[in-house]
C-alpha cells in the first residue's frame, strides 16, 4: 500500500549513512590507537562507577540527522481532498473497499471511527532517528569502542520549521568487551552509576530500543450524529472510544517495534521505557458532517537488557541518609 498518507515509504538502502568528515575520522583513529587521553562528560561519580565495572571511557561520540518529513505536518487539511479521491477509503489492514456495487457510492463512511496508521509520518521519525544512530555507531566503531554509554537522543524541530526534524544522539564511547554486541557497539541510555548497578545485579545492557508511531483517530458517524442532536450526547458524559482506540494502537505499535528490536539484540527484556506524545487536533470535513479527529504521534525509548533469569540480584541494605533533605532546614 502506498500513497501520500498511508504510504510505507522506506528509504533506498544506498542513501545511508552519510560519511563522517575526514578530520573526525583522524581524531577517532587517534582515540582507537590510544594516542590521546580520553574525553568524556561523565561526572567523577559516574566515571568511578564505570571504572569499578572495568569499563574504560574513550571519547564523546555523536550522530545527527536533519530530516524533511515528506508529508508536511501543517498540511493535514488536504486529507479531505485526498479522501474524496478515494485515498481515505483504505482500511487499517491495507485492503481498499472501493465502490459499493448496489449504490455506486464509495464505501467511505465505514472509514470513520477506525484508527488509521499514518505510516509516512511515523516512518519519517524512525528513519531520521535510525540515521542519527547509525552515525553514532560509525563514530564508535572508528574509536574502537565496544559500547556507548549515557546515550541521549534529542529530537526537535529544525530551524523553526515544522516539517523538518532534527535527531541528535550523543554519548560516551567506552571499551568494555563484555558489552559488545554481535552487530557492533551496544548503545546504553543509562548513566554510569546505573550501568554499575545493573551489572552488579547480574544483568547487562544490550542496546537501546526506540520507535515512533503515528495514528489518526476520528469520531464515528454515529457519534457525530449524536453530537449534533440537541437532546443527544452533547450534554452527557460519554467515552470517545474511537480516540482511546487510536491512542492504544499508537502505543502498541511503538511497543511492538521496540520488542522486535530487543528480540534482534537477543535481549530478555526492556526496562526504563519513556514515552513522549504529541497530540494534534485534526477535524475532517465532509460535505455533510464535521468529524472531530486527533493525531497521536507517540515516541518511546527504552533499554534492552539480558542476564540470568533469577537469583542474580545483589543483597540490598537499608540506609538512612543523615544529610538534611533540601527544604528541611529553616533559612536563618
Amino acid at each position: 500500500m502506498s500513497g501520500p498518507f498511508f504510504g510505507d515509504d522506506q528509504p533506498e538502502p544506498d542513501e545511508r549513512p552519510a560519511a563522517i568528515p575526514d578530520h573526525a575520522r583522524e581524531r577517532l583513529a587517534g582515540v582507537a590507537a590510544g594516542r590521546v587521553p580520553f574525553t568524556s562528560t561523565l561526572s567523577a561519580n559516574a566515571f568511578a562507577a564505570l571504572r569499578g565495572a572495568d569499563i574504560q571511557p574513550l571519547c564523546q561520540v555523536m550522530g545527527s540527522s536533519v530530516y524533511h518529513v515528506g508529508w508536511q505536518i501543517t498540511g493535514w487539511g488536504r486529507l479531505n481532498a485526498l479522501r474524496n479521491q478515494g485515498y481515505g477509503t483504505y482500511r487499517p489492514d491495507g485492503s481498499r473497499p472501493g465502490i459499493d456495487r448496489t449504490t455506486g457510492l464509495p464505501l467511505r463512511l465505514s472509514w470513520y471511527g477506525t484508527p488509521q496508521e499514518l505510516r509516512t509520518l511515523g516512518a519519517a521519525y524512525n528513519d531520521a532517528r535510525d540515521r542519527a544512530l547509525a552515525r553514532l555507531s560509525q563514530e564508535a566503531r572508528l574509536a574502537g569502542a565496544d559500547a556507548v554509554v549515557d546515550v541521549e537522543v534529542v529530537q526537535h524541530p529544525f530551524g523553526g520549521r515544522r516539517d523538518v526534524i532534527e535527531f541528535r544522539a550523543m554519548g560516551t564511547a567506552v571499551r568494555a568487551p563484555g558489552l559488545r554486541g554481535d552487530a557492533g557497539p551496544a548503545f546504553v541510555n543509562l548513566t554510569g552509576q546505573d550501568v554499575g548497578v545493573l551489572l552488579r545485579g547480574g544483568q547487562r545492557p544490550v542496546g537501546l530500543v526506540t520507535a515512533t508511531s503515528a495514528y489518526l483517530g476520528t469520531a464515528s458517524l454515529d457519534t457525530v450524529i449524536e453530537l449534533r442532536s440537541l437532546t443527544g450526547k452533547r450534554w452527557r458524559n460519554f467515552e470517545y472510544a474511537e480516540f482511546a482506540d487510536a491512542w492504544a494502537y499508537a502505543r502498541n505499535r511503538a511497543l511492538m517495534h521496540m520488542r522486535a528490536q530487543a528480540s534482534d539484540l537477543g535481549a530478555d527484556g526492556i526496562i526504563g521505557i519513556r514515552w513522549t506524545q504529541e497530540t494534534r487536533e485534526q477535524d475532517i470535513e465532509d460535505s455533510d458532517y464535521r468529524f472531530p479527529g486527533l493525531i497521536y504521534v507517540v515516541h518511546a525509548i527504552g533499554t534492552a537488557i539480558a542476564g540470568p533469569a533469577a537469583d542474580g540480584t545483589p543483597d540490598v541494605y537499608t540506609v538512612m541518609p543523615m544529610a538534611d533533605r533540601p527544604g528541611t532546614q529553616e533559612a536563618s
Binding site: 548497578v197 452527557r236 492504544a248 526492556i270 527504552g302
Partner: protein, 268 residues
C-alpha cells in the same frame, strides 16, 4: 463496567498480539534500573508494560453561582473515565497472567482546544511472583500500586503487601460571594467562611470515598496518599479534589525491618 478477568473488551487487536508476545518471553517495563532490580529482589518477575486509556467527553451541568455544591455529573465523569482506564490496564495484566501491577501512574490530560474532553491514562508494569504465591486483591483483580519499585520493596520487607490503588474524587462548585456579603466585609479582616467551608466539604467527600474503597478491598490501611486540588480548566470556582493511595494488607505478624544503617553522604 463490571470486571471480567478473562475479558479483553476495549483492548485493541494489536495489543492482543503484543500481549501474546509478552507471554512468550521478553518483558517490557518502564521501571528504572534500580526499581527493576529491587522488584526482582522482592521475588517478582516483570512480565510487561500494561496500559489503559480513556478519552472522555465530560457532560454539562448547570451550577447555581451562589451555591456551594458538588457537581455530581462531573464527579461521575472523572470516576468513570479513571475506572475505564484502570480496568483496561488490569485486563491487560490479567491476560499476561500477572499477580499485579507496580509503579502505576495515573494521569489526566486536558486538550487546549477541547473544554469538554479529558484524556485518562494508566500505565504500569505487570509482575508475577516467582514462587507462584498469589498476590491478587480479595476481589480477584490483579493488585495495583502506585508505589515506586523502592517503596514496593520496603513495604514487602515490612510485612505488608499492596492490594489496590484506591481513590476518591469530588468535583465541587465554590459559591461566588454575594453583594450583601461583600458589603459586610469591606475594610475588615474576616474569614471567608463560605470558601473555607466549600474546600472542607470537597476534601472530606474525596477522602471519605477513598476510605470506603479501601474498606471494600479489606485493607488494613492506605499508604502514600496524595491529595490533589485541580481545576482541569473549569475555571476558578470549580475544583476537583482527588485523593489517591495504595491500600495495604499485612502478610506476616512481623512488621519491623532491619534497622537501617545510618550513612552520611559526602557528596553535598
Amino acid at each position: 463496567m463490571s470486571y471480567d478477568p478473562n475479558s479483553l473488551e476495549g483492548v485493541p487487536d494489536d495489543a492482543r498480539t503484543r500481549l501474546a508476545q509478552n507471554r512468550a518471553g521478553l518483558f517490557t517495563s518502564d521501571l528504572s534500573v534500580r526499581e527493576f532490580l529491587l522488584v526482582k529482589q522482592a521475588g517478582f518477575e516483570p512480565l510487561g508494560l500494561v496500559v489503559g486509556s480513556s478519552i472522555y467527553h465530560i457532560g454539562f451541568q448547570f451550577s447555581n453561582p451562589m451555591e456551594n455544591a458538588e457537581m455530581t455529573v462531573l464527579t461521575q465523569a472523572m470516576y468513570h473515565a479513571r475506572e475505564l482506564a484502570m480496568t483496561r490496564m488490569e485486563q491487560e495484566a490479567d491476560s499476561l497472567g500477572a499477580d499485579g501491577i507496580v509503579a502505576v501512574r495515573l494521569d489526566v490530560g486536558r486538550y487546549e482546544w477541547g473544554d469538554d474532553l479529558a484524556e485518562f491514562i494508566a500505565i504500569g508494569t505487570a509482575v508475577k511472583h516467582r514462587e507462584g504465591q498469589l498476590h491478587r486483591a480479595p476481589n480477584g483483580r490483579p493488585f495495583t500500586s502506585d508505589l515506586s519499585g523502592q517503596d514496593f520493596w520496603t513495604l514487602l520487607a515490612a510485612g505488608y503487601r499492596p492490594v489496590g490503588m484506591v481513590m476518591g474524587s469530588c468535583v465541587y462548585h465554590v459559591a461566588h460571594q454575594g453583594l450583601g456579603s461583600f458589603m459586610r466585609k469591606v475594610g475588615r479582616n474576616v474569614e471567608m467562611e463560605n470558601y473555607t467551608q466549600a474546600l472542607y466539604d470537597a476534601r472530606e467527600l474525596a477522602m471519605e470515598r477513598m476510605q470506603s474503597e479501601a474498606q471494600e478491598v479489606e485493607a488494613e490501611g492506605v499508604v502514600g496518599v496524595q491529595l490533589h486540588e485541580r481545576s482541569h480548566g473549569w475555571g476558578s470556582h470549580m475544583i476537583e479534589f482527588f485523593a489517591i493511595g495504595t491500600a495495604v494488607i499485612p502478610i506476616s505478624d512481623e512488621h519491623t525491618i532491619a534497622s537501617p544503617t545510618l550513612v552520611l553522604p559526602m557528596d553535598g
